[in-house]
Subunit: 611 residues, 2 copies
């Protein structure tokens, strides 16, 4: 661990997976009966090593060189293609993919130990990898046998790339407004696709000899809006009967975007069917496109959360290393005595405050994301009778996790830049790039505002608020008396107060919607999503702190002293302090949300901003 | 005003200067008796035009090309040198400079209408201009007659540049730890300077034929720490007897930094006296360097605040334009009815919430900064008996204004990126660059953490808390009953509550320092500085809203209707709504600070972060 290179937080990941969630209990499920704990451990450990040793060293050069158009195609930075090959050859593309398509089928909550670090090590490279696996998964789920045969294995083997093509120049957040058309060809089973797609991550690159686009389009006479959208498989090159890419399929790369970050990730504008010769193959049936795509989208939203987590975790470790190395300033407790030696900045209260805020944010978000991973595993592979329960938790927590990781992750990295000071503002240290790269997480796969609307206007209202009740029950087990030390007991009290305020504030927002109207009813959606995220992250941190207390008690009678002496005790001791810091220094911002909602002032809706 | 070009907010600046602060009252002061209101107006108007038409068009190319080392010197982007020349020729370098050095001596509170826009239009270019004027001002203040004669006029004429050289590789935030040495030469009045200086803005460039460095160094036998530091004039080229630059003065440019933003601003590492032939000329007397430099530093801190303000203001105007143009999504109040037409995103509640937060932040910070400008004018040029009073206000508000503009300005630009969504993440729109450029404001001239310490550990304690009492008295005149409408009355009530909570929280932090110790006593400094900034910005916004109410009442009996009809009414109406938005949607975050301080939990100080 140092201040310029990426390193994973192996110890914390092990804690979250094995001591907190106890992912080894998944081995009791039928779908995972061929795994064992050693396999889980090995996958996580080797995946992290791959991230650190193969992907991370390319992160800076990827940022400097970027991906560019050349001769109608896209050239990626030196080394990226080789890394892609190694990644595919080692089987990482199929880590959680279905065994039928050549995947390994690991539980998500285990794979997360790897996935967050793929993102942390090199978000620009991993984006294209992740989308390829995601697109293959969608074909696996909705494709017919022949489609699965033709596409899935090659994509999971990394021979072909994959994308999701939703947005158009005039349809971004409002995906339902797309106009790309699909006309059924007179002969053969294909459709002719025509339209322009924008913001296509991995839209074109030199990693593979074909790229399989999943394209949303409207068939003739389809209903207006989201209900009239179908999903098509559109390969860049059409296939010979032998299955090899042959002639061009009339998919042109118009440009790649010049972005603030993830510069090596080719974000393309693609034109389909400029010469009326773009073949698309319908997935499943007409007008099912939005529902299908939302399966991928919901997963992709969680995946974006991994990005925020991985980058923020890397930034925290860089900042902590720097704070330990950099000597500057005489400690405040030594007053103005100039005979005193300056100290490492990790000693200064303001720096410690920022470091713990970074740490608490990262570990709170990690707890939340891995828990959602575990709920996902249970929803897909657990006993039939509890699947609905876990799916409800996944559904309500997806927008919460995405915003928490994206926005609080970005804020944590901002603090990291601040800790480094002048050098943090240079590109010599990785924090500046991390800040730029991570900014995208609050924008793609639905902006933070869209997530907040999904939470407040949809998930909280589904089935008369049942999901929220399930969520509240899930969080009911945190009792102050379970804590051994007074400060942690008080932290749990503070959290319980926040949880209860969240409940009343959700109700208050519901009342506003009913009494004042829909505009007022969604006005505080973003604030509420933040509050939701804070209460949830704090819950997992405090649960983890209770476990840490038990572990620490087995080791020592004097935690503070032990923490100075051995690394394991230090880990547990700091875990408790991290939870306290979250409860007392971060969670209180929910009080502002309570007051904002209570005020019932909507000046922003009254101001005349239209010209 | 559009979504890609810089434009100044002329109407709001005129309001703040002429309707709120009434800067024309400064004409009654002796030092400004040669001015008149038309001159004030003309300077502001022409300065803004210069910013918009000459400086702004170079902002993007400056970012793309950056400033680079070439042949031991620095080459700036195409067009920068010409802009510098035009700027100097038009007299802008001397806008607030002393007439003795060729300046125009405008009041700061008038000049601010120009200065914020120089920064907003092109922060990378303006940084070097600003420092040149600042360095000249310091020589004007502390130099002997000959030094003033030799340097000041040429710098204010833009023939020579100027820098301030404080930081060294091992002395950044702790300036007192510098080791650059100054040894008195046996013959002649000069000293031999030796040392390396880092983070020197404008440290080398191709704008001028000489660069005048103001260098902090230690003379032989000087006391340790800040009290043993002297300030030297160190020209890049030593002067012929005729005053023209002649032989090299042994100042070498080692490198320019590769930064996240303000890329065209050459941030240099300079080596002084590698060949033992660097002449420095003492300013005033030995060991007075820190006090002298702090005169410039304090001013420079406010100047950095102008940067945050200008960039955030430009970003707000870009975001508002974009939100008016971009059509996306069916209004929430129209439900799921697909027959409805999509609306411009300015219509969507979440976007309006973000826009008003940007607007309120910008205008609150503008109110604060211009008020501090006015206090500065009164402290320097007002009646002798009130100068101390105004200087106290300037002193306590300097760190508050810097942090508010830097951190809340950055946050406002972040919201702007968010409003633009995908395109906000590209470099096709100016928001991404503004975000990168503005990040520096929380770092240079003392990080936000240093400002917070200055506020909490120094300014709040000075003379037994007298500055804080002066501040509180200054804010005592805001009464709810002065408002005409209920919503503004409630906003003032909310503000009074916040002001009183700020007072008790300042006291609570003081008690913590006394009871628990100095580390705990500064632990919440950054939080307190934010709270301080919020209460102060809200104060000025509410004062302005009361004026807007009066103006609006003169125009109409139906403000909401008038606001839809004419631009002037709209301006006043929105001013009131902006103040309400600040009071109800931003100010509540102070409640979190209150709770954080009350909790008296210092887990971050207890965690074992040292290795």
């Amino acid at each position: 661990m140092n201040s310029t290179e990426y390193s994973a937080d192996r110890r914390d990941i092990r804690f979250v997976q094995k001591e907190f969630l106890r992912v080894q209990q998944l081995l009791e499920l039928d779908d995972f009966k061929d795994f064992n704990e050693e396999l889980f451990d090995m996958a996580v450990s080797e995946g992290i090593t791959f991230a650190e040793e193969v992907m991370a060293p390319l992160n800076k050069i990827g940022d400097e060189k970027g991906s560019h158009m050349y001769n109608g195609g896209v050239v990626t930075p030196e080394g990226f293609k080789e890394a892609w090959r190694k990644y595919a050859d080692a089987g990482w593309m199929g880590l959680i993919a279905h065994p039928e398509s050549g995947g390994q089928g690991f539980p998500l909550s285990v794979a997360l130990g790897v996935l967050e670090n793929f993102y942390g090590a090199n978000p620009a490279l991993y984006t294209t990898m992740m989308l390829t696996a995601g697109a293959a998964g969608l074909i696996q789920q909705f494709g017919d046998e022949s489609q699965k045969q033709v596409y899935c294995r090659k994509m999971i083997a990394g021979q072909w790339g994959g994308t999701m093509c939703l947005s158009e120049p005039n349809a971004g957040s409002a995906v339902g407004d797309i106009t790309t058309s699909a006309v059924k060809a007179q002969d053969g089973g294909h459709y002719l696709i025509r339209g322009t797609k924008q913001w296509i991550s991995g839209g074109d690159h030199d990693f593979t000899d074909n790229n399989i686009h999943l394209v949303l389009a409207r068939t003739k006479g389809a209903p207006k809006g989201p209900k009239g959208i179908s999903l098509f498989i559109v390969p860049k090159y059409r296939l010979h009967p032998d299955g090899q890419p042959a002639e061009s399929n009339d998919v042109a790369t118009v440009r790649v975007e010049h972005k603030l970050g993830i510069k090596a990730s080719p974000t393309a504008v693609l034109e389909f069917g400029a010469h009326d010769d773009c073949h698309g193959y319908l997935l499943e049936g007409e007008n099912r496109g939005m529902a299908q795509m939302f399966r991928l989208m919901n997963h992709a939203r969680l995946v974006v959360a991994y990005q925020g987590l991985g980058s923020a975790s890397g930034a925290y470790r860089n900042a902590l290393s720097y704070a330990r190395e950099r000597v500057q300033g005489i400690p405040v407790e030594k007053g103005k005595d100039r005979s005193q030696e300056p100290a490492a900045i990790v000693h200064h209260p303001d720096v410690r405050n920022m470091l713990l805020t970074m740490k608490a944010t990262v570990e709170g978000v990690r707890g939340l994301i891995y828990a959602v991973g575990f709920y996902t595993d249970m929803a897909h592979h657990g006993p039939a009778e509890t699947r609905g329960h876990y799916q409800d938790l996944v559904d309500i927590l997806t927008p919460v996790a995405k915003n928490a990781a994206a926005d609080q992750g970005f804020e944590a990295i901002r603090l990291g830049v601040q800790i480094l000071g002048g050098v943090g503002y240079t590109e010599e240290f990785p924090l500046a790039q991390a800040l730029r790269d991570t900014k995208i997480t609050s924008i793609y796969e639905g902006t933070s505002g869209i997530q907040a609307l999904d939470l407040v206007a949809r998930k909280l209202r589904l089935r008369g608020g049942e999901l929220f009740q399930t969520y509240l029950k899930e969080l009911a087990d945190l009792q102050p008396e379970r804590a051994r030390v007074e400060s942690l007991r008080l932290a749990i009290h503070a959290w319980r107060d926040a949880r209860s305020k969240l409940e009343t504030t959700v109700a208050a927002v519901g009342n506003i919607a009913q009494e004042l109207g829909p505009r007022e009813g969604v006005f505080h959606a973003s604030d509420l999503a933040v509050f939701f995220g804070d209460v949830t992250c704090a819950y997992y941190l405090l649960k983890m702190a209770l476990i840490a207390e038990e572990k620490l008690a087995e080791r020592t009678d004097d935690p503070a002293a032990a923490a100075r002496e051995d690394e394991e005790s230090r880990f547990y001791f700091n875990k408790i302090k991290t939870a306290e810091h979250y409860a007392f220094q971060i969670l209180p911002r929910g009080l502002a949300v309570v007051a904002k909602v209570q005020a019932r002032n909507f000046a922003a809706l009254e101001a005349v901003l239209e010209e």
